[in-house]
């Protein structure tokens, strides 16, 4: 197990006051909170920050952590043989590092729920193609089940969920009666899963609409040729408007993700200029330039 330097995570010194720690936490939370952040790895970073804060904000946990002494982050670490940390009540069940679990996850320190919203067990990541067709997913669920001493222990259960076509990024899906088992024989709650769509090399989605950047040759765009366009439902022929330019959006109605109404696919043209590879091709470009005066910068005549 690796040692975690919670002070380093929070960017504060080991002598930081409770006030300093709170301030650092708030600042980092605003930067990395998955609800407000566009930083890459925001979710991972936010979990790390949350865990560090959970220890450093609590005088008992902080004192116990400090007693381990300062070490380098990532250094191999075993808790001291006489390590014992017990605290009644409000510690969190949820995604924590092994390091945290070993030190603070023991007896009596379970019970509350925090971070339910970001519970990875409640998320399924689909490819855009899977969202289009519908798919099945194995989902591992962590339940808290009371053992013979009445203590709550996490146990894992797997099930296969059939996801219907048309799920969009950030959408919720409900699986009836597969959530936490009811207390005292009561009915189980519903399981709520959040869908994430994985980035796709070509297709971007916004809700049910699908966007595709389509490279076209200058002559295809100029002459208004018909080109083959990939869509989630298969290739279609698309006639370009004559003289189409880069960034022109062309709509393929109803070719996005299914639903009522289904989304559209927007084809965003990107004119690609082939570099001349020999004197003959260069001459063809010269000939084109000579055929008609064309100044793409005409609107900039008065620029400095």
């Amino acid at each position: 197990m690796e040692y975690k330097d919670y002070y380093q995570v929070m960017g504060v010194g080991r002598d930081a006051s409770a006030e300093d720690i709170k301030r650092a936490y708030r600042r980092l939370a605003r930067k990395y909170h998955p609800d407000v952040s566009k930083e890459p790895n925001a979710e991972e970073r936010f979990k790390e920050i949350g865990e560090a804060y959970e220890v450093l904000r609590d005088p008992e946990k902080r004192a116990a952590y400090d007693a381990l002494g300062a070490r380098r982050s990532g250094e191999e670490f075993r808790p001291p043989p006489d390590w014992q940390f017990e605290q009644a009540g409000n510690a969190a069940a949820g995604a924590h590092s092994d390091f945290f679990e070993q030190l603070f996850g023991g007896l009596g320190a379970r019970g509350g729920f925090r971070g339910r919203g970001f519970d990875t067990a409640g998320q399924v990541e689909l490819t855009v193609e899977e969202a289009y067709r519908g798919t099945e997913r194995r989902v591992a669920l962590e339940h808290l089940v009371a053992d013979e001493h009445g203590r709550l222990k996490p146990t894992t259960r797997e099930l296969t969920v059939r996801i219907p076509p048309g799920a969009v990024d950030g959408q919720h899906i409900r699986v009836a009666a597969q959530g936490q088992p009811g207390i005292g024989g009561g009915p189980a709650g519903d399981l709520l899963l959040t869908v994430r769509l994985a980035p796709h090399p070509w297709f971007r989605t916004e809700g049910r609409d699908v966007y595709l950047d389509l490279p076209v040759a200058p002559w295809e765009a100029a002459l208004g040729d018909t080109v083959r366009v990939p869509t989630l439902g298969g290739r279609v022929d698309l006639k370009l408007p004559k003289g189409a330019q880069t960034d022109r959006h062309l709509r393929l109605k109803g070719r996005g993700l299914p639903g009522s109404p289904p989304g559209d696919q927007f084809v965003v043209l990107k004119v690609v200029v082939p570099p001349p590879q020999n004197a003959e091709e260069e001459a063809l470009y010269r000939q084109l330039a000579g055929a008609r005066p064309f100044n793409p910068r005409a609107g900039m005549e008065n620029a400095p």
Binding site: H33, V36, R114, F118, V161, R162, R174, A176, D190
Partner: protein, 96 residues
């Protein structure tokens, strides 16, 4: 290996009662009533007993709960943050 269990997409065509929404988001009815009072989600139906929420409401309620919990803001503050985040999202889309 168990048989696959069918899931239901909670999109804008779904209608959830107050009780269902609370159960799915693991929040109290009082909180949802306050969230509706801030105009963060807008159910159809006049009286509380007839309220129907679209599936989109789940994400908004959960976001508000997380913003409150993780930033210590009150409900009007969370509502403001949510509006600004929506605006930011719209602007980002427009620029592409």
């Amino acid at each position: 290996m168990t048989d696959p269990i069918s899931a239901v997409l909670l999109d804008d065509s779904v209608e959830l009662t107050l009780t269902e929404l609370c159960s799915l988001c693991a929040v109290t009815e009082e909180l949802v009533v306050e969230i509706v009072g801030e105009g963060i989600v807008e159910p159809s139906g006049a009286a509380r007993g007839q309220w129907r929420f679209s599936g989109i409401a789940i994400a908004r309620v959960q976001r508000v709960v997380r913003l409150q919990r993780d930033f210590g803001v009150n409900l009007p503050g969370a509502a403001l943050a949510l509006d600004l985040l929506d605006e930011l999202e719209r602007l980002r889309r427009g620029r592409r």
